[in-house]
């Protein structure tokens, strides 16, 4: 872990500008994952990187990274559970993981709402999970069992 004060003023100011942009980029990559390259995993990685950047710039005790660190583990489990719930909703349309929401026009955001929602659940799971893993390794504490399920 770096100095608790974080890094120099230049880095902190630039991070303040970039942080939101990176978040939005990650969200966009996940939201349009079904029609463009990307998806929940790629988006989640980008979001996690935004928070890692915040931790590096502001130190472990301040800024959005520190706030997210407290919730990362719970959000990780929430993301996984919401994926499961969305997948089970597929039973209403016939079988597990079936597309239960009405499909829209091809090549638009609304073409498959159920896959968009699944991508968002993965975004939450991967973003929080990766960040929790980073925290666990970086601050040298936390239990050894950092588990990962595959999200494919």
């Amino acid at each position: 872990m770096s100095d608790p004060q974080g890094m120099s003023i230049v880095v902190r100011v630039v991070t303040r500008w970039l942080f939101g942009l990176i978040l939005i980029f990650g969200l966009a990559v996940a939201l349009f994952g079904h029609v463009t390259p990307g998806g929940g995993f790629a988006g989640g990685t980008i979001v996690a990187c935004a928070f890692v950047l915040a931790i590096l710039a502001f130190g472990g005790s301040r800024g959005p990274g520190a706030a997210f660190a407290r919730w990362a583990s719970s959000l990780d489990a929430t993301g996984a559970l919401s994926f499961l719930v969305l997948a089970i909703l597929g039973y209403t349309a016939g079988s597990f993981l079936h597309q239960w929401a009405a499909r829209g026009e091809l090549f638009t955001l609304g073409s498959t709402p159920s896959i968009v929602l699944l991508n968002l659940a993965i975004l939450l799971k991967v973003g929080a999970g990766l960040f929790a893993g980073f925290i666990a390794v970086a601050v040298f504490e936390g239990a050894a069992g950092s588990e990962k399920g595959a999200d494919a």
Binding site: L97, H98, A143, A144, G145, G149, A150
Partner: protein
């Protein structure tokens, strides 16, 4: 019935994440949720068997429909046939017992919600592996179960545990890489991942022998390491004893079978084909590796004084029995091998759990410092004795019948030398466990243990239950159990000259994968 198949993976996976979510606020929820999920799985597995026995469809395939109406439906096929069903039942049974045992045993560990989360993940991975209908998902589920098991071996966080986990992780990851390359080679030469379809192409002779040989070698190496066959066994005697007792029971009782034996049987018999051009050499390899594991495991086990380490060596040896039985390549051989795998899960589960109880009672795992436990801890002693008699192959316990069947199968297949090796191993096992019983359960009670007390009922009853099942397993063989195991074996090997089991597996996948 077909619709519930995904639930075998979903329920433990959901339970794992609920345990994680409730980690801080409600840590007491984790054991309840885990037990409920394990019992639900047990009920579902029993229901599958009852349905199968009554003639309804025990088998089904389920498929994710991407674009309805396309002739070939892509998706994650989960296939339930007789072989999968028996392993599902076994996983559900042993994991329920293990969770009950852990309720009190895990009191002395920190971070229990994490333990339950990882345990559920392990169960989800094993259930997924026995249900997976295509090679890649088989690999993914094997990895999920393996990663959970690496973390669980390190759960005690002592130096010994973490070193064992590191070694296990390194070797396990190389094995996984080898399996993945094998999957890649089969995909490159067939363009398919579905095990039934690849099996059909291989049977039709459309796959080059070189590719098949490379894939078979990689799978044997990778899965052999997961099953702790003798040249690849180095991790097991460190990893299995290091985990907490319930986890040792899961790893030795279930993990090496679902990841190792089940996957080997499925791939060798259904995908690569034991009747194909490679059949003869595969059979030889299985027999040789099996003999080496059998004899090597038991000989290394003879000198051990650490109870759990001794049990770990015997796991290798008993896996050898299963391998030679599979190598016989007849219906009886497969049936005897599966019966022995089931029996091993029961008695080795009981023995590892009782090793935990004994460690709790005496404070040591060193056999030479124990003695006379039958006087101070009668419940534990009875359970341990039952399980030890079973692994030693004393009639009428189940271990005797499955070893006898393996010997008969080997003689029928014209392999008297292998049968002799199996018989020698059985005798050495008997010697070893007689020694264990004399040292631990009977004989003189050391003075410092005079005031020792038996473990609580929630720890002794699971051991007794498993020991009782060992006894019943032996008695039930002629009364219906042979049908269940026989069905499981017939799912991969029918005893005819031309084996039509792979064909019926393919029919299963194709009929049920295409919903009207």
């Amino acid at each position: 019935m077909v619709d519930i198949i995904p639930l075998f993976v979903l329920i433990p996976l959901g339970a794992a994440f609920v345990c994680l979510l409730a980690k801080k606020k409600l840590p007491a929820a984790a054991p309840t949720v885990s037990l409920a999920s394990a019992l639900a799985l047990l009920a579902m597995a029993v229901a599958c068997h009852v349905e199968g026995a009554s003639g309804a469809s025990i088998a089904g395939a389920w498929s994710l429909e991407l674009h309805g109406g396309v002739a070939f439906i892509p998706g994650i096929a989960l296939v339930l046939d007789g072989l999968s069903a028996i392993f599902l039942l076994l996983v559900a049974l042993v994991s329920s017992v293990v969770i009950v045992f852990g309720l009190r045993y895990m009191d002395s560990y920190d971070g229990r919600p994490l333990y339950y989360a990882l345990l559920n993940l392990l169960i989800a991975g094993m259930n997924g592996a026995v249900l997976a209908g295509d090679l890649f998902n088989l690999y993914v589920f094997i990895e999920i179960a393996s990663i959970a098991s690496y973390a669980l071996v390190a759960f005690g966080t002592g130096g010994h545990e973490i070193e064992a986990a590191f070694k296990y992780l390194m070797l396990g990851a190389v094995a996984s890489a080898s399996i993945l390359i094998g999957v890649g080679i089969l995909y490159a030469s067939t363009g398919l991942l579905n095990m039934a379809d690849i099996g059909a192409m291989v049977a039709a002779g459309n796959v080059s022998e070189g590719a098949l040989l490379a894939a078979a070698a990689l799978f044997l190496g990778g899965l052999g390491l997961k099953a702790a066959m003798m040249p690849f066994h180095a991790w097991l005697p460190d990893a299995h004893p290091s985990a907490p007792a319930p986890i040792s029971a899961m790893l030795s009782g279930l993990l090496i079978k679902t990841l190792g034996i089940y996957a080997l049987v499925r791939i060798l018999y259904v995908v690569i084909g034991m009747d194909g051009p490679l059949g003869g050499s595969l059979q030889t390899i299985l027999l040789v590796l099996g003999c080496v594991s059998m004899l090597g495991g038991v000989l290394l086990g003879l000198g051990q004084t650490d109870f759990k380490r001794l049990l770990a060596y015997h796991s290798i040896s008993q896996m050898g029995f299963v391998l030679v039985a599979l190598g016989a390549n007849t219906w009886l051989g497969v049936a005897a091998g599966l019966f022995h795998a089931v029996n091993h899960a029961l008695f080795k589960g009981a023995l590892f759990l009782s090793a935990g109880s004994i460690e709790r009672i005496t404070g040591t795992r060193d056999l030479s410092k124990m003695g006379g436990l039958a006087k101070v801890a009668p419940m534990t002693a009875v359970g341990t004795a039952g399980a030890a008699l079973s692994i030693a192959g004393v009639p009428p316990f189940n271990g005797f019948w499955s070893k006898l069947l393996i010997l008969i199968a080997l003689f029928q297949a014209g392999l008297p030398v292998v049968a002799a090796a199996a018989a020698i191993t059985a005798v050495l096992t008997l010697v070893c466990f007689t020694k264990v019983q004399r040292k631990a359960l009977f004989g003189k009670l050391p003075d410092r243990l005079a005031t020792a007390k038996d473990v609580p009922l929630s720890m002794s009853m699971p051991v007794l239950l498993l020991a009782l099942l060992c006894l019943l397993g032996g008695l039930m063989w002629p009364l219906g159990l042979d049908d269940v195991i026989g069905d499981a074996a017939a799912a991969v090997r029918t005893d005819a000259e031309t084996n039509d089991a792979p064909a019926s597996y393919r029919k299963l996948v194709h009929d049920l994968g295409r919903k009207p």
